[in-house]
Symmetry: C2
């Protein structure tokens, strides 16, 4: 079997399974979710043994420590995964929800939420994504084809085995969750072309993956996770609040997409804000790359290039630019941002409103950290990623992002 | 200027205009719409002269009569276009609508509808699409880049000139509506790659156009209009009703996407339904292409190939297949359909429900004609096409299909 045939078979199996899964009751789906949680807990030793093999290979291959940490499963992490599955089981099922109206033609029209069908997910080395993705898709009646990174392949195979057994126990088709075990780059490329077999592809990963998907995919895509986020300190900002938010947004978890990469500061408060900001950043050993004005005020700063303002560092590095007006800040953001999350610190209500109106991003904050852009924090219970596109869904993607709508129309011999 | 530079300049002009248009009030946008209706009425002579030139060229180039009819503007058609603009002005503006909630973190989250930004439309020879598209986009705060067919180029240039003057009169940027005057195929291809300048591309046209767009576009696309629609006659169907619906769905306007192409009939009623159906079809000179069983019952029918069942004829041709069970009908539809609109005629409530649940199309009818799949008939006031994809919007696309959402979050120094 060629790689193409292998991927196609998995997608077609998933598509066939999706047809029956779409008809499963909420009770049946929730039962399967709880069974999966139990099974993962029961199989913890087997899964951790597979994970140990992955960790050993990764270490041999010189995978960096931050990635090893993402890859690693512990008893506590497995418990957290199982708790998350139970949380998702407890959420409302969006499938079948909708509204109904009657038209002058006599037709009754119902618009109801239905599953998308088959969801493809391409991701990297975090095994919890395997479980989260499978469970969110199952909850919404979707089959899923997973293509995880090579670093986690043994863990993923063990986890998917466990999930399939649990599905079988509940009378659901194990093909509802398929894993592509070939982890060469080509297997992702093939998955991107499975038009007709998969309904949507969600890439979860770095810039290179997102770019490759948008350039090569012939299946519909939901882009996620590119986060070049900004914090703008307005001339009316409370400086203490500004420093506190900057520290949280940059330093609490720099590797995630809702962390900030650039701080813009109004010229009239730069001399007051920047030294306090630099002092706080130095406690986290953050490297500052600033514009010429910044470098005058902060001699320890490196000079920023234009490239810096387009860069998502995902690291303890921050770009800084002094701007003359709020307009300049908005223009800078709309030019350089990936349209994920931006924030203003201000005590001027008009500027707050203007910033929220004119900044063209999924989440726009006033006097709050960009770190809140998250399905849980927004009240959606769970998320399958954060959309940075405008179509279908924007921002944190909860269960409803995995559904589409369908019109059911009833007449009585009605013709037009 | 190269073609690429020309298209890029128009898209960038539109993107700049979109920024200010997004902030325009509902009153300002409606004022512009009414001004455009007045201006088109005032410029009717100029527009019809341009249209006459297009008709003359098209006639010389051997354009078929049905297309000439679509292209032709008359005083009455211009009045209808102006009436439609006034109808759209009277619709609710979705922009700014939304909901608000507060989180345990103390954050207030508002989710509001905002414009997509710049909408690209690729279409063929109907000048009313030029006006409808421009007006629906303006109403929702979107700039639009139009790329119409070469047959209508003089008409489109005249109409867009008139629209731009009206925008200018209302203090809105005339670049909100841009027309690509180069109508070579290459100009459409270039538009498909304007990632970063246009936010969504809506192709309105035949199979070839849709295929080219899904294969070549790097910008997000909403697919519209492919309509291989089915009518299934259940064993419990009222035969008179079945014939009435078949005639309406096939013959009332065969060239449109919500007309049916294939009739499936349960074997137990085929001998009763098919002769009555064939008689009714013969009154419209409809050619019947049937399966082997159909051809036995209707000696006048041609034999259908498998290809027939995948074909959107858009003409007075219909494929027929006798099926043994409702399951076979559902499987046939889910395999061959473009997932636009399907209908069942039945007096069996369980079968009706099953058909609506299991048929995987945007609109699924019970005892009604597929011809109702239309923004106006659904109560949306207007439509910019009928989506045949599952992401973003499905079925008739009203004003809300031209919007996205944005989260506005307010805190008080909130950190996570």
């Amino acid at each position: 079997m060629t790689l193409y045939e292998e991927v196609k078979m998995l997608c077609d199996n998933a598509a066939a399974a999706a047809t029956s899964l779409a008809l499963a009751s909420t009770e049946n789906k929730n039962e399967a979710l709880l069974k999966i949680a139990d099974a993962i807990k029961n199989d913890a030793d087997k899964i951790m043994a597979a994970n140990a093999a992955d960790l050993e290979n990764a270490d041999k291959n010189g995978v960096p420590a931050t990635m090893l940490d993402r890859l690693k499963l512990t008893e506590a992490r497995i418990d957290a995964i199982c708790a998350s599955i139970r949380d998702i089981a407890a959420l409302d099922d969006p499938i079948g929800k909708g509204e109904e109206w009657t038209r002058p033609s006599g037709l009754t029209i119902r618009r109801v939420r239905v599953p998308l069908g088959v969801v493809g997910i391409i991701y990297e080395a975090r095994p919890n994504v395997t479980v989260d993705s499978a469970v969110l898709c199952l909850k919404t009646g979707n089959a899923v084809v997973l293509r995880g990174g090579k670093e986690a392949i043994n863990t993923n195979m063990a986890v998917v085995d466990t999930i399939k057994s649990a599905l079988d126990d509940c009378g659901l088709d194990p093909h509802c969750v398929e894993l592509i075990t070939n982890t060469e780059r080509e297997s992702a490329n093939v998955l991107m072309t499975m038009r007709g077999s998969i309904d949507v592809l969600i890439p979860r990963g770095g810039k290179g993956l997102i770019k490759s998907v948008t350039e090569n995919a012939t299946v519909p895509v939901i882009e996620t996770g590119a986060g070049n986020c900004h914090l703008y300190i307005d001339d009316s900002a409370d400086i203490d609040m500004a420093v506190k938010i900057a520290v949280n947004a940059k330093c609490s978890r720099p590797s995630v997409c809702n962390a900030i990469e650039t701080v813009l500061v109004h010229a009239s408060v730069a001399a007051k804000f920047l030294p306090a900001f630099a002092k706080a950043m130095s406690e986290y050993s953050v490297e500052i790359r600033g514009c010429a004005k910044t470098c005058v005020l902060l001699p320890e700063a490196k000079e920023a290039t234009d490239e810096d303002y387009y860069t998502e560092y995902n690291d303890f590095i921050v770009a800084v630019r002094v701007v003359d007006t709020i307009s300049d800040a908005i223009v800078h953001i709309n030019k350089h941002s990936t349209a994920h999350s931006e924030a203003i610190v201000t005590s001027n209500g008009e500027n707050a409103e203007r910033f929220q109106k004119e900044v063209n991003s999924a989440a726009v904050y006033v006097n709050a950290s960009t770190r809140f852009t998250d399905g849980g924090e927004f009240g959606f219970g769970a998320e399958i990623g954060i959309s940075t596109q405008k179509l279908h869904v924007r921002g944190p993607m909860g269960l409803s992002a995995l559904t589409t709508e369908k019109y059911l129309i009833n007449g009585n011999g009605s013709v037009r």
